[in-house]
């Protein structure tokens, strides 16, 4: 009997940092944001309870259209990232051996040693009208005047895919690593073509990794701020920019808080829908990530 309290105390102490971290930095601020999102300005320094901030999102087309645009583009980015990352992950997990494998993973990781802002500015140097690509195109005669490649949706998607690649490759490579070579061989022995083996054996095996990577990339993309703002310019409106604008330039915290909660709920709903569609459960997916 005397040992039990001591043991639970140890457990409590071990868990304390995690609980404090979650409680103070995640749960508490969210509760405060939630409370804030239900207050409406009546007069200077007078606020009342109300749902007006949420109604504003649904009645003003501007805001929900921005959200829809952000969500659709994020889904496109996630799909593109998956298509690009799959062969790379397959190569790293199945073909590369020893030092080559470590080096390839390191190469994927390397760009993340500088901050997102610097990477995005790097893309701007490449893509701008007086930038390197435009200059090269003119030098080899493919264009007769400067080409502006920045400030459009393509540039935004490019930047976001680039930023999401690593977070797709790692869970994918993890999932593919556990695939038994004998299972693939058996597939070929039974007369399966390369395509059939990929579709019926490799992809189903990698499914938890695919879902885990997709969730991470989608959430990172939806919540991104710098990349759409810098690469998209005047046409790069992203929902996070609306939240920033409400908080910082409009001083309208309750509206910004409501937008923040809506972003959290709507993007969670999209992830949930994605899990349902692919028949995956969150539990197995999390194990993979």
């Amino acid at each position: 009997m005397s040992q039990k309290p001591a043991r639970s105390l140890t457990l409590f102490l071990l868990l304390a940092p995690a609980v404090l971290w979650l409680g103070l930095l995640i749960v508490l601020p969210h509760v405060e944001i939630l409370v804030l999102s239900f207050s409406e300005r009546v007069a200077p320094r007078v606020y009342a309870f109300g749902f007006g901030n949420y109604l504003e999102f649904f009645t003003e087309p501007l805001y929900w259209r921005t959200f829809a645009r952000t969500a659709i583009m994020s889904i496109i980015v996630t799909a593109l990232t998956l298509v690009l990352a799959f062969p790379i992950a397959l190569y790293i997990a199945r073909v590369a051996q020893g030092r080559l494998k470590a080096m390839l993973l390191l190469l994927c990781l390397l760009p993340f040693w500088v901050s997102e802002l610097v990477r995005t500015l790097g893309w701007m140097i490449l893509l701008r009208e007086t930038g390197i690509i435009s200059y090269t195109l003119r030098a080899i005669g493919l264009a007769d005047q400067p080409v502006e490649l920045l400030y459009n949706d393509g540039a935004v998607i490019l930047g976001l895919v680039y930023g999401g690649l690593l977070f797709m490759i790692v869970p994918l490579a993890n999932a593919l690593e556990s695939l038994e070579p004998s299972v693939v061989e058996a597939g070929f022995d039974l007369g399966g073509s390369r395509w059939t083996v990929l579709r019926r054996i490799v992809i189903p095996h990698a499914m938890p990794g695919i879902v885990a990577g997709s969730i991470i990339v989608f959430m990172l993309t939806v919540g991104n701020f710098a990349t759409p703002v810098l690469l998209g310019g005047k046409n790069g409106l992203w929902f996070t920019e609306q939240i920033y604008a409400q908080f910082i330039t409009r001083f309208n915290w309750p509206q910004g808080a409501a937008f923040g909660m809506l972003l959290l709920m709507l993007s969670s709903a999209i992830v949930w829908a994605g899990l349902r569609l692919t028949g995956q459960s969150l539990g197995t997916t999390l194990k993979q990530a």
Binding site: P44, R45, E60, L62, Y63, R65, T66, R128, E129, T130, E148, Y151, G233, K234, N235, L237, E241, Q242, A245, F247, I248, T249, R250, F251, N252, W253
Partner: protein, 357 residues
């Protein structure tokens, strides 16, 4: 369990931290300002004279207000918002402290500017700001590539498609209102009329958006684009225009036909500033003509200090004379204080402008 020694160490560390904290508070002035307003040599000299160390954070109007609002006016000892952005936020959020004018040497200021600023920054009979640096918003033009630009509306001229820029912020709304024959300041008192007027300006800007390469955010971003030739005409601050003019005589700052917009950045004290004495010392120190001239030269703008203009270098004076003939000076539209609530109307127009294609 903590051993005796460990707890002793912890206590010592805490004590040391507290001493260090209080010792710093006694000799530090936390300044929240615009870039260029606190040059290193001025800070150095202030420290030599008073022993007070100045800790500089650079920002802009919106962020100054947002930062102070987040802490209800704590975190800084002196801030520099524009004169029109004091009364509204003060009414709404109570983030500033009334100034004790007896502690400010008023004869160091240009009298008319001091009076105007005091009037604009008053709430319930208390004054919240005194002027420091002033300048204007107008047109920065590459006169070789875009010789015809003379007013804000010319930024929407199809012949300059993809080569113009403005900031998607309130000065653009005000400027295009004047350029299209409306007087936004006259509508300040009537929120409904103001909303209708802003709708019209918003429609005009939405049409103009096709012509704009990007809405610029930071002045370095804009200046680089003008230098490289990507932008040939933009609505921007005079200081940026004169900076470019010093590098290339074809680049000019032009006072638009419908009037340049005049702004005044102030000194104000946050509601929970901890070092008011140092703040007043900093204000009086900064308004001394020789210091004010130094700061004005570093910022590339003009100062509200009385007598500093005689100490200014020739270049900026010449540039000002070229950009502002007598009639253009009289035509400068000075921002009146923004009443609380109007910025919400403007905000929505700007949101729509950014979202439209």
């Amino acid at each position: 369990m903590l051993t005796k020694r460990a707890s002793l160490k912890l206590a010592t560390a805490f004590a040391a931290l507290m001493i260090a904290g209080s010792a710093h508070a006694a000799e530090k002035l936390r300044l929240l300002t615009w870039s260029g307003y606190a040059p290193a040599d001025v800070i150095e000299q202030f420290k030599k004279e008073t022993g007070i160390e100045v800790e500089v954070t650079t920002s802009n109007n919106e962020e100054i207000i947002s930062k102070l609002r987040a802490t209800q006016g704590a975190g800084f000892d002196i801030v520099q918002p524009s004169q029109d952005r004091i009364a509204g936020p003060q009414t709404e959020f109570g983030i500033y402290k009334p100034l004790d004018l007896s502690k400010i040497k008023s004869d160091q200021f240009i009298a008319s500017m001091l009076e105007a600023t005091k009037k604009n920054t008053s709430v319930d009979g208390k004054v919240y700001g005194v002027p420091h640096i002033w300048g204007t918003d107008g047109l920065v033009v590459n006169t070789k590539a875009a010789p015809k630009v003379a007013d804000y509306n010319d930024l929407c001229d199809p012949s300059l498609a993809g080569k113009t820029s403005f900031r998607a912020k309130r000065p653009a709304l005000i400027a295009f209102a004047f350029a299209n024959g409306m007087d936004p300041f006259a509508a300040y008192g009537d929120a409904k009329a103001y909303a209708a007027l802003m709708e019209k300006v918003g429609a005009k800007l939405a049409e103009c958006k096709k012509n704009v390469k990007f809405f610029w955010e930071g002045s370095d971003q804009l200046l680089n684009a003008v230098r490289s030739g990507e932008i040939v005409a933009a609505m921007a601050w005079d200081t940026g225009g004169w900076k470019l003019n010093a590098e290339n005589a074809d680049m000019k700052f032009i006072a638009p036909k419908s009037g340049a917009l005049g702004w005044v950045d102030t000194f104000a004290i946050p509601a929970k500033g901890r070092n008011d004495d140092a703040a007043y010392k900093w204000i009086n120190f900064n308004m001394r003509p020789e210091i004010a001239a130094k700061v004005a030269a570093a910022a590339g703008n003009f100062t509200a200090s009385n007598g500093a203009d005689k100490l200014m270098q020739g270049k900026l004076k010449d540039q000002f004379a070229e950009s502002f003939p007598k009639a253009a000076i009289d035509n400068i539209k000075w921002y009146p204080a923004v009443p609380a609530g109007l910025e919400e109307i403007e905000g929505k127009v700007l949101d729509r402008l950014k979202a439209g294609s």
